[in-house]
Symmetry: C2
Subunit: 370 residues, 2 copies
């Protein structure tokens, strides 16, 4: 192999494939990046057996070839090399790769590329198309609500339902639930219902752009799903299991509703929770009454906090307590200046929606206090 490439483009591609490089595995190959240069294109691949990523960039090829390099050293050296162009060449026995840029020259030990689990593009009869920025937003608005520990694997993933022209994505850790719906571009006769691991969605969220007018093409085959956009191919194993019927937990009738500025509520809850956030529950109490909401916190060893914010209130007064973290999480991902917060009783789930949009809903279970 002997190629010339732009440092900035190579680095961008490395950073994308690095998201499926495992830094913890004892198998060196899983910490490697596969490079294959042919026909004017350098293809990079990574594969940690849960997620696989492929990414291509145009390069000037003098001799084609294939190798695998330890991702850690390859990425750090490329990042720091002087000069805008990097020459990558392999030794005659293909045991070392030389990176040259400016007056710097690095020889890196190759891993045996025949052992690399090369990604096979998923064959599927059904692909769904969704605008990249919409998909990024769906992921951002749902994935945070997943469970982190994997005692019940289905809750570490996000349910994805596609039917006709609609995609619904739903995440829950059983204490709160985040629901988002959107339109897909093509009409499909092949409905889909799968659970996508939050890990790949978090990585996708970092790579997807909210400024691109491109689409993401999603395909699914057996227990695998693939995402294709802008020359990037990501593939993941799906989570098997039964996701609970989320419609059952979404409350439909409310006795109290408020409209409040997203930032005003967020700041009040954030300050009030300063007193309680080191505890196990981080509980804040809310009182809704007569065009205002008060947020209070109480930690006997530290003190008492009191916050007040104006709101448009309808229905009965209510006193209800929540885990502050669950309130702050949702207020961060709602993009509208006002929210609609709806309550039934102090011990039944409440909902939060962005005021102007019907695409998003959050269900939160209150905390029982004395």
């Amino acid at each position: 192999m002997k190629i010339l490439c732009q440092k900035a483009h190579l680095l961008e591609s490395i950073q994308i494939v690095q998201k499926a490089v495992s830094t913890k595995s004892t198998i060196p190959m899983i910490g490697g990046i596969y490079l294959s240069a042919k026909e004017g294109v350098l293809e990079l691949q990574s594969n940690d057996y849960e997620t696989a990523i492929k990414c291509s960039l145009p390069v000037q090829i003098l001799t084609s070839g294939t190798t695998v390099l330890a991702a850690k050293y390859f990425s750090e050296i490329v990042r720091k090399l002087p000069g805008d162009t990097i020459e990558i060449s392999s030794s005659s026995e293909n045991t070392m790769i030389t990176l040259k840029s400016g007056k710097a020259c690095y020889n890196l030990v190759c891993l045996p590329h025949a052992d690399f689990p090369v990604v096979q593009i998923l064959e599927s009869n059904n692909t769904y198309e969704i605008p990249e920025k919409t998909f990024k937003n769906i992921i951002r608005q749902t994935t945070f609500a997943c469970a982190h520990e994997d005692t019940r694997p289905v809750f570490t993933g996000v349910l994805c339902e596609i039917e006709n022209t609609k995609i619904n994505m739903i995440a829950t850790n059983t204490h709160r639930l985040s629901f988002r719906t959107a339109e897909i571009i093509n009409n499909t006769n092949c409905p889909l219902k799968v659970i996508i691991p939050s890990k790949i969605l978090n990585e996708l969220n970092k790579i997807l752009s909210s400024e691109m007018e491109t689409n993401v093409s999603i395909s699914c085959h057996q227990n695998k799903m693939a995402f294709n956009f802008r020359g990037i191919y990501m593939e993941t194993q799906l989570i098997e299991g039964q996701f609970p019927n989320y419609n059952q937990v979404i409350p439909k009738n409310f006795k109290t509703e408020i409209i409040i500025e997203t930032n005003a509520l967020s700041e009040a809850v954030e300050r009030a929770s300063l007193l309680t956030r080191d505890g196990d529950y981080n509980v804040i109490k809310m009182d809704v009454d007569n065009e205002k909401i008060t947020v209070t916190s109480n930690n006997p060893e530290v003190g008492v906090g009191y916050e007040e914010a104006g709101a448009i209130t309808t229905g009965e007064p209510i006193t209800i307590a929540f885990n502050a973290r669950y309130i702050l999480d949702v207020l961060k991902i709602i993009d509208t200046p006002e929210i609609l917060f709806s309550f039934t009783s102090p011990l039944t789930p409440a909902t939060i929606k962005s005021k102007e949009q019907n695409e998003y809903m959050y269900v939160i279970t209150p905390v029982r206090t004395n």
Copy 2:
């Protein structure tokens, strides 16, 4: 106590005194900030029994008083409070302090202020005056070279020698030594030779400004030293023990000297050390010959790095190895675009100086390689 103060000024003072608040102690008082309001001034104090800090700010006093608050909650709440002005008032029994700003109201539990180790200003016949920005720079250029572990306490501090109009500060961990000299403002007949803990110097470095035209007044009495500037008073215990005779380790005659761009050497060493920095020694090798320096690194499991930089060389060629960390540390704190790097032999200490200035010198012991 009842006072009105500007949030920005209060926060700045809290951040200063917080540097002597211990977050790890089991004694709550050591995690507290002492507040005393009288005669138009709010005085804040902290004291972890190694370092004590006092800091004052003008406030509007309605009722004078004294209290102690847990630093952690006090600082976080003040930082997040809405509004520019904060009202601080104590309950009638002085067991709670109320902070009010905008529509937010926080009651914090007070600690018993009679138990606080109130700082007594050090009485000393000798004070030394030094420009604030010079003192900041001396600290920055020496303290990094201290030892971190305290098996030999003298090496965790910086030797400070004052005589006539001169101050010398010296730090070493026995593998490298950093020396800086400067002028003090007053001429003193009372020479001083003490070891200042690196901990307070690191904190001072954060508080001292390189833009102020003010002076720092330094006084010393028995085993304590105090620093006074812009209404801030910091006091520390000194380290007892015998600092080695550093003049003995400063080499005087050299066989090879190079002048090289500070950044060029820094970048070459930083890249080369990417291959070896996970090891125990992080060794890089330098070859000086014929108007250039080459920097190489070798990690059999990873690869080989080669860097080259132009230099003005005089004397004999030399091959010598160093701990890359020790080279990078000094290149960060040298402010001139070029350095003078002087060698005697592959196994004797070398020196690094800024090219244009004689105030600073670094001595570094090479590493023996096979």
